[in-house]
């Protein structure tokens, strides 16, 4: 086989796989959003923009959209602040540093199911260890999933615990790239550690921080499993975001066109974020 034909056969294979696994499902999903279909094996019926009109006229849709923004924003703020804080601590020299660094990554490795089940066990009614800690501190009992506000807070808390390590680890790696001479010079000038963080570390790491926030924003907006497992979108829809609404619409109400329309709308919203990403970090394919 000649050099060119090897490369081309690899490439054709690549294109075929991309088309089959990525392009085709998306095209199919978008096209389903223009059809009426009440069974996954049924024949789709052309519906034009009906699905969109119906979805957009439901207030559940707007609630889900707002919930999605609240959830993503809440989780991102805490992840980034905590992650940066952890990274700054773990960047210092102290005995056992490698052990603490390793431990700080563990939550990220766990399957969502494990995290959710363990959390539910820890806060269980009267027997959970956290329930007992809260009682021992003399605090009023917390009803984690009962009220809309508490449910959203619980969902955010668990998500932050799981995904902070991503920020910690990437930020910690980025910290190594800041030349120490900058800090030395600033120290000679009599600056405080806080001043050095805001005037050297943060500006130097702004690009990596932008990537982290953008990627995390997209992923948190897409997150399905953690909310579904914790609250199934409840109570009374207070934690239901677009992914859950889309799942419920397609797989419980069997309004497949409607579910596809919601997924397509989320896709359009995310495409804005992806567009910004590509503008800021153009693909360097050469």
């Amino acid at each position: 086989m000649s050099s060119k034909s090897t490369i081309y056969s690899f490439l054709i294979l690549g294109l075929a796989v991309t088309l089959l696994l990525i392009v085709a499902p998306v095209v199919y999903a978008i096209s389903l959003s223009f059809y009426r279909m009440d069974s996954f094996v049924g024949t789709p019926e052309w519906a034009g923009l009906d699905n969109y009109a119906r979805v957009l006229s439901q207030w559940e849709f707007w609630r889900a959209l707002i919930n999605g923004f609240v959830y993503s924003l809440g989780t991102i703020v805490f992840q980034v602040v905590l992650g940066i804080g952890f990274a700054l601590v773990l960047n210092q020299v102290f005995p056992g540093r490698n052990l603490v660094r390793g431990l700080s990554i563990l939550p990220y490795l766990l399957p969502t199911v494990v995290v959710v089940l363990t959390f539910k066990w820890m806060v269980d009614g009267s027997i959970g260890v956290l329930t007992n800690v809260i009682a021992a501190l003399g605090l009023p009992p917390v009803y984690w999933f009962e009220s809309p506000g508490a449910a959203m807070a619980s969902v955010i808390l668990v998500s932050v615990w799981m995904w902070t390590p991503f920020v910690t680890t990437t930020f910690l790696a980025a910290l190594q790239t800041v030349p120490t001479s900058l800090y030395e010079a600033a120290k000679v000038d009599g600056t405080t550690a806080i001043q050095r963080f805001f005037h050297i570390t943060l500006p130097m790491l702004k690009p990596i921080l932008t990537v982290i926030v953008l990627l995390r924003a997209v992923w948190m907006f897409n997150k399905f499993d953690v909310i579904w497992l914790l609250t199934q979108g409840g109570p009374v829809g207070s934690t239901e975001h677009l992914a859950i609404l889309s799942y419920r619409t397609a797989f419980s109400l069997f309004d497949i066109g409607g579910g596809a329309a919601i997924a397509t709308i989320s896709f359009a919203i995310l495409s804005v974020a992806v567009f910004i990403y590509f503008r800021m970090f153009p693909l360097d394919t050469e």
Partner: protein
Amino acid sequence: MVRSLPGRLALYIAALVIAVYSAFPIYWMVLSSLRAPDVLLTSTSLIPGPFTTEYYWNLLELTDYPTQFVNSVIVAAVTVVVTMVFSVMIAYAVTRHRVPGKRLIIGAMLYAYMFPPLLIAIPMFSIFAKLGLGDTLASVIVSHLTLTLPLGVWFLWGFFKSMPFELEEAAMVDGCTRLGAFLRVVLPLSLPGLITVAIFSFLLSWTDYTYALIMIGSDANKTVPVGLASMIGSFDLRWGEIMAGSTLIALPLFGAFALLSQYFIQGLGAGAVKG
């Protein structure tokens, strides 16, 4: 850096807080899975014991857990192998030749990173149902590939870009074919990259709940995350067994991390990440 005593104390306390915050739930999960049933629901002692292994035996003998564990192993293993084979070929072709369609592949791969899960799951479920392949492990594997392939191509693309072309050219001057140079020179040198891709594909596939929930209906075909989650729906909550099941899914991940943490951290830094 020389620090004052209060400064050092604050640092140690902060480090301790991070360690406890990150590890305590995991410690509590393992401890609960081994605590004897008569005290499990009453004791909040942080010291492990009294010990029992009965939850593990119940799980293995009385539930679908072993079958589901095997399902998870099959799904993750096939996903990892297919991802590695295809992503290495695609990434290699894309970096080594000026060809049309290259931007489409790389752009689509990065884009696919950010797809809403339902955008893939709804059409996939429908396609597999129509093909008569609904509720099969194959459908779960294919849906996992939509996550892991983009990740593999994206990561290896970055990896191959930084590998000098002269390496294969030298081998080809010495009489190797392109394929020979690829297999004998490029592949062995990309081992660290391949390991990273394998780790992250495994992690994505092994921990996935969303796609398996949608694709699988029957208990016998469930993967462990979905099987375990359905235990919490049943009317008597068997916390001991649930924590034992959780520990068993988490163990392979911790084992792999302990052995391969440098690849894992390198992958996180280079953008080979799970959402």
